[in-house]
């Protein structure tokens, strides 16, 4: 069974995921992904008719067990500075990141 995740597909995924891997790591990870896909392949054998709906949480929530929605009342957070202090680069209370280089516009 040939690899579903070819080096090309793998490279594309890495792009999408905004990741970088060195060649060794990349080969190891790609191999593991293909192995995992073989295990995932098991799912295809399971007969699923239309009556089997998707479940996003195993435990069912009813109207009673679901928590109530939040009241629309302002509660200022006590320390916005503390959050900003976590940023690697700030300037005048803005968080600074490199820009996206623009292609020439017509």
């Amino acid at each position: 069974m040939s690899d579903a995740i070819t080096p090309e597909v793998f490279h594309h995924l890495v792009e999408l995921a905004a990741l970088a891997l060195d060649p060794q790591e990349a080969e190891y990870v790609r191999k593991q992904l293909n192995n995992q896909l073989k295990a995932i392949h098991e799912l295809e054998a399971i007969p699923l008719d239309g009556s089997v709906a998707a479940t996003s949480h195993g435990v069912p929530y009813t109207a009673q067990t679901s928590p109530a929605l939040r009241e629309d009342k302002w509660q200022p957070y006590r320390d916005p500075q503390g959050i900003l202090a976590q940023a690697p680069d700030t300037s005048d209370s803005y968080i600074v990141v490199p820009d996206i280089p623009h292609t020439t516009l017509e």
Partner: protein, 484 residues
């Protein structure tokens, strides 16, 4: 000559005017705040945080959906829309994909003659293809090759509403946005101010030969920050597409940006990653259960909508379209008018005239809304009745408007207090008229010598001496008699 028609769809993002953001308790409105001050761990996407849905955001969404004749789903779901951008701290936006709050809907858009290609008014049915809740992203600005990120706006509640490709002219698009803005303010769910970004619009534009039904590739126009600019930008784009097609070129699915200073469209950098957002159900939120009890509570007191009311003012009150349009432009003014008419009981057109001229001027001068006037609708009605009864004349009535507003006293009370009642007493007028004639012998002679126009002057003098309170008709009669 090939005739083309434009096919236009509008995608709007409406900032709801709730107190707080959609998933946390920071303020929804931070327009004037310093950057990164209106933030908390949740809206900044810190590790370990979770969203908690704002009830009011859902309720405002339901009001809008109802006004747009959409079907509210009993169970609706949030989904994650995944992509990377610095103004999106979680790396995904919580939005709604396939099971959104409402489904379908339409707006019957009246297009006035002035905006119609053939000068005849008509109605365009604009369908709604998407109506869902989502969270806003932050803001970025670029300077010197870097991007400056402000999270204050992250998490502000938005309704995204997308029309079908139903609009056919740039004017129609402008009309749609005007009506939408009116509706949003009418319902009290958004300030809907395009210049402040609480109503945003992207336009999808394509053209085809008139009579065709296919949809050709469309361009998307973004970053237009006023209704007039939307209209201009779309007009330019339609012209550009027609030019291209006539020259034998293809239309590409570009994203364009409107430069309002230069009055031109520019091609924007195309989205660099593919548009595969890998939507999946947001596991941190439970579905919205819109049961009948809740829905009924939200819709209790759902108002008559502006276009419906406009039609009713024409049919029930016999008002001209022009009046009805002004009197339903804003909800509080409209409610004022209706209350005044009901209290007055007389000709609605009379009330309309006073409202459109004097009251509206007063509101503009004082920067008030109709519900903030001390001169409320019942007092306006009272004032009109005083004029009808002959107790005061019209000019007294007009000056009373300001006096009531300043003093907070009713018209009747002021008339009494300041003795403003029209004097119809023959004897009193006669005495003053005799005074006037005695004091102005030259004018008397001139009048007797044939200068009839002086009668108006004599009446004016009597009115002046009587501080406007004289009944001018009686004054004239008396003077005529005395000058015989």
């Amino acid at each position: 000559m090939i005739e083309y028609e434009a096919v236009i769809g509008l995608e709007t993002h409406i900032q709801l005017n709730t107190q707080t953001k959609i998933f946390c308790s920071c303020k929804a409105d931070s327009w004037n705040d310093a950057p990164n001050t209106n933030i908390c761990p949740v809206c900044c996407g810190l590790p370990g945080v979770l969203p908690v849905l704002n009830k009011a955001a859902v309720e405002k969404g339901v009001l809008l959906a109802t006004a747009m004749h959409s079907e509210i789903r009993p169970l609706s779901f949030f989904d994650r829309k995944n992509y990377f951008y610095p103004d999106l701290p979680k790396g995904y936006q919580i939005s709604q994909f396939d099971m959104s709050l409402a489904k379908g809907g339409y707006l019957d858009l009246p297009v006035p003659a002035s905006a119609s290609p053939d000068g005849k008014a008509y109605v365009r049915r604009v369908t709604i293809s998407k109506l869902h809740l989502e969270e806003d992203a932050g803001k970025t600005k670029n300077a010197g090759g870097q991007r400056y990120v402000d999270f204050n706006r992250c998490g502000v509640p938005l309704v995204e509403m997308v029309t079908g490709p139903d609009l056919r002219t740039a004017d129609e698009a402008a009309q749609y946005l005007t009506r939408l803005r009116q509706l949003l303010r009418w319902l009290g769910i958004s300030e809907a101010d395009m210049e402040r970004g609480n109503l945003r619009c992207d336009a999808n534009v394509s053209i085809r030969r008139k009579g065709e039904t296919i949809l050709n590739p469309k361009t998307e126009i973004k970053n237009v920050n006023s209704i007039e600019n939307v209209r201009e930008a779309i007009e330019h784009e339609i012209e550009r597409q027609i030019r291209e097609v006539e020259a034998g070129n293809r239309i590409f699915a570009w994203t364009l940006e409107w430069d309002e200073d230069a009055g031109v469209l520019r091609k924007m950098r195309s989205k660099e990653t593919e548009a595969d957002y890998r939507y999946f159900r947001e596991p941190d939120l439970l579905p919205i259960r819109m049961d009948d009890t809740w829905k009924t509570a939200i819709l209790a007191g759902f108002p008559e909508l502006p276009l419906e009311r406009r039609a009713r003012f024409v049919s029930a009150y016999g008002l001209p379209e022009y009046d009805a349009e002004i009197l339903t432009s804003e909800r509080r003014l409209s409610d004022y008018f209706e209350t005044a008419v009901k209290t007055y009981g007389g000709d609605p057109k009379r009330v309309s005239n006073w409202l459109m001229n004097d009251i509206l001027r007063m509101l503009n001068d004082r920067g008030l809304t109709a519900d903030q006037l001390k001169l409320g609708p019942a007092w306006l009605a009272e004032l009109l009745k005083l004029i009808d009864a002959g107790t005061i004349n019209i000019s007294t009535g007009k000056s009373l408007l300001q006096k009531v507003e300043e003093s907070g006293l009713s018209p009747a009370a002021l008339v009494e207090k300041e003795g403003l009642a029209k004097v119809s007493d023959d004897a009193a007028i006669r005495a003053v008229a005799q005074e006037v004639l005695a004091e102005n012998p030259r004018e008397v002679e001139a009048f007797k010598g044939g200068k009839d126009t002086l009668m108006g002057w004599f009446v004016g003098q009597v009115m002046r001496k009587m501080r406007g309170k004289a009944d001018p008709n009686i004054a004239r009669q008396v003077l005529e008699e005395l000058l015989k």
